[in-house]
Amino acid sequence: MSELPNPDEFLAKIEHKPSPRGWMDTPVEIRKGIACHAAKPERLETVGFPNPRDWSCYDEDWKLPENWQEILHKGFKERLDRFRSIKVFMDICVRCGACADKCHFFIGSGDPKNMPVVRAELLRSIYRNDFTTAGKILGLFGKKVKKSYGAREMTLEVLKEWWYYLFQCTECRRCSVFCPYGIDTAEITIFGRELLNLIGLNIDWVAAPVAFCYRTGNHLGIQPHAYKDMIDFFTDEIEDVAGIRVEPHFMKEKADILFITPSGDVFADPGTFTCMGYMMLFHFLQEKYGLEITWSTYASEGGNFGFFTSHEMMKRLNAKMYAEAKRLGVKWILGGECGHMWRVVHQYMDTMNGPADFLEEPVSPITGTKFENARSTKMVHITEFVADLIKHGKLDLDPSRNDHLKVTYHDSCNPARGMGLLEEPRYVIKNVCNHFYEMPANTIREQTFCCGSGAGLNAGENMELRMQGALPRLNAVKYVHEKHGVNMLSCICAIDRAAFPTALEYWLPEVDNCGVHELVANALILPGEKKRTVDLRNEPLPGMEDEDAE
């Protein structure tokens, strides 16, 4: 009997109360299910990034260059000089806490280091120590005094903490909406990740798409013939659904418009149905108005994981969009349903790879509407283009073909917060669906909750993290599901469409996920089409069953 453990000792081993220590005194614990796999060396080699090697975040030794602290210090300094925003964001935070509880990862995980203010403090603490006069003077009085100022030295422990938490931010910018100073924490994460890349610290789910995109043109490394094979397959599917053979253009010179969308729409369900939607829309516009829109297997990726790596990498991957538009001699570019592509396009492309003075200022050839907001980038969002067509009565629509769906709309972070695209998708949905329900006000529009898998965090090994991040969004979806019977969560982002089916399966399996143009194409009446008895997913339309088949 004496060998039996004392009950108190036994319970002490499963302590349920966390340590009351402050964040700076709480050591980082890298957990499986939260962290992502390290970037494989061949990814970094492909794009000429430093320190390619096999390593794992769970190992003690991260195989860093000997002078890693010096590299980071220099990189930090260069970027403080280069980006005024970063310098300002490092200085002006008063730690008011307005952002603290606004992050989906904090809300879902309960980990205080996911409060945006603390995530930024991870870097600020080093900034104060290395780059401020006060930090240098207070440092003379010892670590304790320095700590009271919120400064600390860069150590391996701090570096691991950076890596762990900078890859628990989806750069969604919800927190920045609430910051009275307008601090954009996404920029801090972008900056932090850029520093990490200087010493070869990236995750494979970011580094692999970057390498594939650079080498082959899209995130999965799918070659041009397979891209075309998929589109060809969609033409068969469309024929089955609508009895019409669409004929998409590929790299057609002097076409009116070049269309670029994330490759996820071509290669992964349920984006594939959205892709079929685009194809049916383009067919309609060609048949009815003679508009020629071309696809490209060269500019086969709208997404840009360079954005999650470094500014330079983002620029390199983005360049092909303008290059292809120039080569083909189109008038302007139409962009598909993508998230971060639009932040890159709207806020960086023109500066990085512009001016695109070889393109025309976008005007809809059908309605004559000038897309003035795209005057400089020459790239128009497809929901804006389609909303304008609908407003002018240019599309023939039968919204009852979506009557089997009760739809809500998730404002994808980057189009909503990054470019202010709030009304157009809603206008489109309301015109192609009869049953639309909004989620609660503090979870949509500018305050939309992220899907939890953006900015390269859509890997498999960090599934627990992704479920934490998706919790606030799907909690709001659950509300409209219970209140109104919503069964379809629509969105305009390919990462959403990759993330939501999985997150829904865990949190709310009764609800499915789709892109807006899947809904558009369900409702769109193609000239000469057969009676529709199924939707784009080949699922029977209630009340429109095929009588002949019975």
């Binding site: 966390p18 009351p20 809300i107 094979d229 498999g460 509300y479």
Partner: protein, 181 residues
Amino acid sequence: MRLNNLLAQRKTAIIKNWFTLAVETYPPDTASFLKKQKDPFANPVGRTISRGLEALYNELLKEMDHDSIISFLDPIIRIRAIQNFSPAQAISFIFLLKKAIRENIKKEALEEQLFNELLLFESKIDQLAMIAFNLYMECKEKIYDLKANEMRNTTYKAFKRAGLVREMPVDEPDIKPNVNT
């Protein structure tokens, strides 16, 4: 039944205490947020725990319908199964009800000799913990399932529909490793 009446009488205080103990399994800053923020969309975790605990407590005072217990327990376990807890920590909040009850009825339990009834009631809490453990494992298994099948359900499925991948026909012999006999 005397205990049940007492527990029904002290319901509000006990549930409040249980909720406080449960959210204090999170770090202090998080616990304070979970307690203070009342908006169900800004604080889904706090809201889910608070609603769930109340419903569970009511169920414990009754016959303990298994399906109802699951419907109230699942949302809480589903959250804690993906948070940064060990399995024991994730379901520890169930046992904290014992503490909440003991703290709230200590005097009466001593004076009125309620220990037998209390032991019986605590066995119900133990049952609750067993159900919680099942739910926890179901959630974890779901996570592993999602990890294993996500790519298959999206990209692979799309390629397969397009006829771009070919599976081994079922009538072809399996490739077996050489076995030295």
